[in-house]
Protein backbone atom coordinates (compact mmCIF):
# COMPACT_ATOMS: atom_id res chain seq x y z
CA UNK A 1 0.00 0.00 0.00
CA UNK A 2 1.58 3.22 -1.14
CA UNK A 3 1.73 6.21 1.24
CA UNK A 4 -0.71 8.07 -0.95
CA UNK A 5 -3.34 5.40 -0.48
CA UNK A 6 -2.69 5.43 3.23
CA UNK A 7 -3.22 9.16 3.39
CA UNK A 8 -6.39 8.89 1.35
CA UNK A 9 -7.74 6.15 3.58
CA UNK A 10 -6.89 8.21 6.65
CA UNK A 11 -8.72 11.18 5.23
CA UNK A 12 -11.67 9.00 4.26
CA UNK A 13 -11.84 7.64 7.79
CA UNK A 14 -11.53 11.12 9.29
CA UNK A 15 -14.24 12.31 6.96
CA UNK A 16 -16.64 9.61 7.96
CA UNK A 17 -15.90 10.15 11.65
CA UNK A 18 -16.76 13.78 11.13
CA UNK A 19 -19.88 12.72 9.31
CA UNK A 20 -20.87 10.43 12.14
CA UNK A 21 -20.34 13.21 14.68
CA UNK A 22 -22.39 15.60 12.57
CA UNK A 23 -25.16 13.06 12.13
CA UNK A 24 -25.32 11.44 15.52
CA UNK A 25 -24.76 14.25 17.97
CA UNK A 26 -27.64 16.54 18.62
CA UNK A 27 -25.69 19.50 19.97
CA UNK A 28 -25.34 22.16 17.30
CA UNK A 29 -21.79 23.01 18.30
CA UNK A 30 -20.72 19.41 17.91
CA UNK A 31 -22.39 19.19 14.53
CA UNK A 32 -20.39 22.21 13.50
CA UNK A 33 -17.21 20.63 14.77
CA UNK A 34 -17.96 17.49 12.84
CA UNK A 35 -18.23 19.53 9.72
CA UNK A 36 -14.91 21.14 10.55
CA UNK A 37 -13.45 17.66 10.79
CA UNK A 38 -14.72 16.85 7.32
CA UNK A 39 -13.06 20.00 6.04
CA UNK A 40 -9.83 18.88 7.65
CA UNK A 41 -10.13 15.55 5.90
CA UNK A 42 -10.44 17.36 2.60
CA UNK A 43 -7.35 19.47 3.36
CA UNK A 44 -5.53 16.30 4.29
CA UNK A 45 -6.31 14.97 0.83
CA UNK A 46 -4.92 18.09 -0.80
CA UNK A 47 -1.67 17.81 1.07
CA UNK A 48 -1.48 14.10 0.34
CA UNK A 49 -1.84 14.62 -3.39
CA UNK A 50 0.55 17.57 -3.29
CA UNK A 51 3.15 15.49 -1.54
CA UNK A 52 2.83 12.00 -3.03
CA UNK A 53 1.29 12.61 -6.42
CA UNK A 54 3.50 14.73 -8.64
CA UNK A 55 1.57 17.86 -9.50
CA UNK A 56 2.37 20.54 -12.00
CA UNK A 57 2.78 23.70 -9.93
CA UNK A 58 5.00 23.21 -6.88
CA UNK A 59 2.83 25.03 -4.34
CA UNK A 60 -0.72 24.63 -5.59
CA UNK A 61 -1.86 22.09 -3.03
CA UNK A 62 -0.40 24.07 -0.14
CA UNK A 63 -2.02 27.29 -1.27
CA UNK A 64 -5.32 25.53 -1.77
CA UNK A 65 -5.15 24.25 1.77
CA UNK A 66 -4.30 27.69 3.08
CA UNK A 67 -7.35 29.10 1.39
CA UNK A 68 -9.44 26.23 2.66
CA UNK A 69 -8.27 26.87 6.23
CA UNK A 70 -9.14 30.54 5.96
CA UNK A 71 -12.56 29.74 4.60
CA UNK A 72 -13.04 27.18 7.35
CA UNK A 73 -12.24 29.84 9.91
CA UNK A 74 -14.83 32.16 8.41
CA UNK A 75 -17.35 29.35 8.29
CA UNK A 76 -16.75 28.48 11.93
CA UNK A 77 -17.11 32.09 13.00
CA UNK A 78 -20.45 32.47 11.26
CA UNK A 79 -21.56 29.02 12.35
CA UNK A 80 -20.90 29.68 16.01
CA UNK A 81 -22.59 33.03 15.75
CA UNK A 82 -25.56 31.13 14.39
CA UNK A 83 -25.31 28.72 17.29
CA UNK A 84 -25.46 31.58 19.76
CA UNK A 85 -28.41 33.07 17.91
CA UNK A 86 -30.09 29.68 17.97
CA UNK A 87 -29.46 29.42 21.69
CA UNK A 88 -30.98 32.83 22.27
CA UNK A 89 -33.94 31.75 20.17
CA UNK A 90 -34.72 28.39 21.82
CA UNK A 91 -33.12 28.01 25.19
CA UNK A 92 -31.08 24.97 24.17
CA UNK A 93 -28.87 23.75 21.36
CA UNK A 94 -30.68 20.59 20.31
CA UNK A 95 -30.55 20.77 16.56
CA UNK A 96 -33.43 18.35 16.07
CA UNK A 97 -35.66 20.86 17.82
CA UNK A 98 -34.74 23.69 15.50
CA UNK A 99 -37.40 22.78 12.99
CA UNK A 100 -39.19 26.07 12.73
CA UNK A 101 -39.01 25.85 8.94
CA UNK A 102 -40.79 22.52 8.63
CA UNK A 103 -43.03 22.48 5.58
Amino acid sequence: MSPLQGCLLLSAALFSVGLVIALARSNAILVLLGIELMLNAANLNFIAFWRFHGGTAPATGVIFVLFAIAVAAAEAAVGLALVIALYRHQKNLRLQEATRLRG
Binding site: S16, E36, L44, G54, V62, I63, V65, A70, V71, A72
Partner: protein, 170 residues
Protein backbone atom coordinates in the same frame (compact mmCIF):
# COMPACT_ATOMS: atom_id res chain seq x y z
CA UNK B 1 4.09 3.90 5.33
CA UNK B 2 6.26 5.22 8.05
CA UNK B 3 5.89 4.70 11.75
CA UNK B 4 5.24 8.40 12.29
CA UNK B 5 2.34 8.29 9.90
CA UNK B 6 0.72 5.45 11.75
CA UNK B 7 1.08 7.22 15.09
CA UNK B 8 -0.41 10.37 13.61
CA UNK B 9 -3.28 8.41 12.11
CA UNK B 10 -3.97 6.79 15.45
CA UNK B 11 -3.93 10.17 17.22
CA UNK B 12 -6.17 11.81 14.66
CA UNK B 13 -8.74 9.06 14.36
CA UNK B 14 -8.62 8.05 18.00
CA UNK B 15 -9.25 11.53 19.33
CA UNK B 16 -11.93 12.12 16.74
CA UNK B 17 -13.70 8.88 17.61
CA UNK B 18 -13.41 9.61 21.29
CA UNK B 19 -14.91 13.01 20.62
CA UNK B 20 -17.75 11.27 18.82
CA UNK B 21 -18.47 9.13 21.87
CA UNK B 22 -17.76 11.36 24.86
CA UNK B 23 -20.90 12.78 26.46
CA UNK B 24 -19.13 15.86 27.84
CA UNK B 25 -19.17 18.77 25.46
CA UNK B 26 -15.96 20.35 26.72
CA UNK B 27 -14.15 17.04 26.42
CA UNK B 28 -15.40 16.65 22.88
CA UNK B 29 -14.13 20.07 21.98
CA UNK B 30 -10.71 19.46 23.53
CA UNK B 31 -10.41 16.05 21.92
CA UNK B 32 -11.19 17.56 18.57
CA UNK B 33 -8.47 20.10 19.22
CA UNK B 34 -6.11 17.15 19.73
CA UNK B 35 -7.28 15.69 16.46
CA UNK B 36 -6.62 18.97 14.71
CA UNK B 37 -3.18 19.04 16.21
CA UNK B 38 -2.71 15.58 14.78
CA UNK B 39 -3.66 16.87 11.36
CA UNK B 40 -1.11 19.64 11.80
CA UNK B 41 1.42 16.95 12.67
CA UNK B 42 0.48 15.15 9.49
CA UNK B 43 1.19 18.30 7.51
CA UNK B 44 4.58 18.55 9.19
CA UNK B 45 5.25 14.93 8.34
CA UNK B 46 4.27 15.62 4.76
CA UNK B 47 6.72 18.52 4.72
CA UNK B 48 4.26 21.39 4.56
CA UNK B 49 5.55 23.33 7.57
CA UNK B 50 3.78 26.52 6.72
CA UNK B 51 0.40 24.84 6.42
CA UNK B 52 1.00 22.97 9.64
CA UNK B 53 1.68 26.09 11.64
CA UNK B 54 -1.17 27.89 9.94
CA UNK B 55 -3.42 24.98 10.93
CA UNK B 56 -2.26 25.23 14.53
CA UNK B 57 -2.69 28.98 14.60
CA UNK B 58 -6.15 28.92 13.12
CA UNK B 59 -7.64 25.79 14.62
CA UNK B 60 -5.92 25.47 17.98
CA UNK B 61 -5.36 29.14 18.47
CA UNK B 62 -8.54 30.73 17.25
CA UNK B 63 -11.21 28.19 16.38
CA UNK B 64 -11.01 26.19 19.58
CA UNK B 65 -11.22 29.42 21.54
CA UNK B 66 -14.34 30.44 19.71
CA UNK B 67 -15.82 27.00 20.19
CA UNK B 68 -15.14 27.02 23.90
CA UNK B 69 -16.58 30.48 24.12
CA UNK B 70 -19.70 29.30 22.37
CA UNK B 71 -19.90 26.35 24.75
CA UNK B 72 -19.59 28.52 27.81
CA UNK B 73 -21.96 31.15 26.49
CA UNK B 74 -24.68 28.68 25.60
CA UNK B 75 -25.05 26.71 28.81
CA UNK B 76 -27.29 27.42 31.74
CA UNK B 77 -25.92 24.97 34.24
CA UNK B 78 -23.01 22.62 34.46
CA UNK B 79 -25.37 19.73 33.87
CA UNK B 80 -26.18 21.22 30.50
CA UNK B 81 -22.73 20.28 29.31
CA UNK B 82 -23.53 16.59 29.63
CA UNK B 83 -25.12 16.29 26.22
CA UNK B 84 -27.82 13.62 26.24
CA UNK B 85 -26.67 10.53 24.43
CA UNK B 86 -27.95 10.43 20.85
CA UNK B 87 -31.13 8.44 20.52
CA UNK B 88 -30.35 5.09 18.99
CA UNK B 89 -32.21 5.47 15.72
CA UNK B 90 -30.27 8.48 14.62
CA UNK B 91 -27.05 7.03 15.90
CA UNK B 92 -27.55 3.85 13.91
CA UNK B 93 -28.35 5.79 10.78
CA UNK B 94 -25.32 7.95 11.34
CA UNK B 95 -23.00 4.99 11.72
CA UNK B 96 -24.48 3.36 8.64
CA UNK B 97 -23.93 6.55 6.63
CA UNK B 98 -20.40 6.96 7.93
CA UNK B 99 -19.39 3.38 7.24
CA UNK B 100 -20.97 3.53 3.80
CA UNK B 101 -19.11 6.70 2.89
CA UNK B 102 -15.77 5.49 4.11
CA UNK B 103 -16.33 2.14 2.46
CA UNK B 104 -17.15 3.73 -0.84
CA UNK B 105 -14.16 6.03 -0.71
CA UNK B 106 -11.91 3.20 0.39
CA UNK B 107 -13.01 0.97 -2.46
CA UNK B 108 -12.53 3.89 -4.80
CA UNK B 109 -9.02 4.40 -3.49
CA UNK B 110 -8.14 0.77 -3.99
CA UNK B 111 -9.93 0.49 -7.28
CA UNK B 112 -7.96 3.39 -8.73
CA UNK B 113 -4.67 2.54 -10.39
CA UNK B 114 -2.05 5.00 -9.10
CA UNK B 115 1.21 5.40 -10.95
CA UNK B 116 3.31 3.71 -8.35
CA UNK B 117 6.43 5.75 -9.12
CA UNK B 118 7.43 7.35 -5.80
CA UNK B 119 7.67 11.08 -6.30
CA UNK B 120 10.17 13.28 -4.46
CA UNK B 121 8.79 15.89 -2.09
CA UNK B 122 8.23 19.14 -3.96
CA UNK B 123 10.59 21.90 -2.84
CA UNK B 124 8.72 24.88 -1.45
CA UNK B 125 9.88 27.75 0.68
CA UNK B 126 7.80 30.26 2.55
CA UNK B 127 9.11 32.81 0.12
CA UNK B 128 7.86 30.70 -2.74
CA UNK B 129 4.42 30.42 -1.19
CA UNK B 130 4.34 34.13 -0.56
CA UNK B 131 5.32 34.97 -4.12
CA UNK B 132 2.77 32.49 -5.44
CA UNK B 133 0.07 34.01 -3.24
CA UNK B 134 0.91 37.56 -4.21
CA UNK B 135 1.37 36.69 -7.85
CA UNK B 136 -0.87 34.08 -9.36
CA UNK B 137 -3.43 34.02 -6.55
CA UNK B 138 -3.50 37.70 -5.66
CA UNK B 139 -7.10 38.09 -6.75
CA UNK B 140 -8.16 35.07 -4.73
CA UNK B 141 -6.31 36.48 -1.74
CA UNK B 142 -8.18 39.76 -2.03
CA UNK B 143 -11.48 37.93 -2.34
CA UNK B 144 -10.55 35.90 0.73
CA UNK B 145 -9.94 39.10 2.66
CA UNK B 146 -13.36 40.37 1.62
CA UNK B 147 -14.91 37.04 2.61
CA UNK B 148 -13.30 37.09 6.05
CA UNK B 149 -14.38 40.66 6.68
CA UNK B 150 -17.91 39.83 5.62
CA UNK B 151 -17.88 36.74 7.84
CA UNK B 152 -16.65 38.76 10.81
CA UNK B 153 -19.35 41.39 10.39
CA UNK B 154 -21.96 38.75 9.76
CA UNK B 155 -20.94 36.90 12.90
CA UNK B 156 -21.21 40.07 14.96
CA UNK B 157 -24.61 40.87 13.52
CA UNK B 158 -25.90 37.34 14.03
CA UNK B 159 -24.62 36.96 17.55
CA UNK B 160 -25.57 40.46 18.64
CA UNK B 161 -28.71 40.35 20.77
CA UNK B 162 -31.77 42.08 19.47
CA UNK B 163 -31.86 44.38 22.46
CA UNK B 164 -29.04 46.89 22.06
CA UNK B 165 -28.39 47.42 25.78
CA UNK B 166 -26.82 43.99 26.18
CA UNK B 167 -23.38 44.02 24.60
CA UNK B 168 -22.65 41.66 21.76
CA UNK B 169 -20.53 38.53 22.19
CA UNK B 170 -18.55 37.16 19.24
Amino acid sequence: MTFTFLILAVIILGSALAAALRPNLIHCALLLVVSWLGVAGFYLWAGAEFVAFAQVLVYVGALSMVVLFAVLLTRQSRAELRVDAPETRRAVWAVIAGVAVSGVIGTAVFATKWDSAPVTAPEITVRGIGLELMGAHAAALLLLGVLLTAALLGAVVLAAPDRPEKEEKS
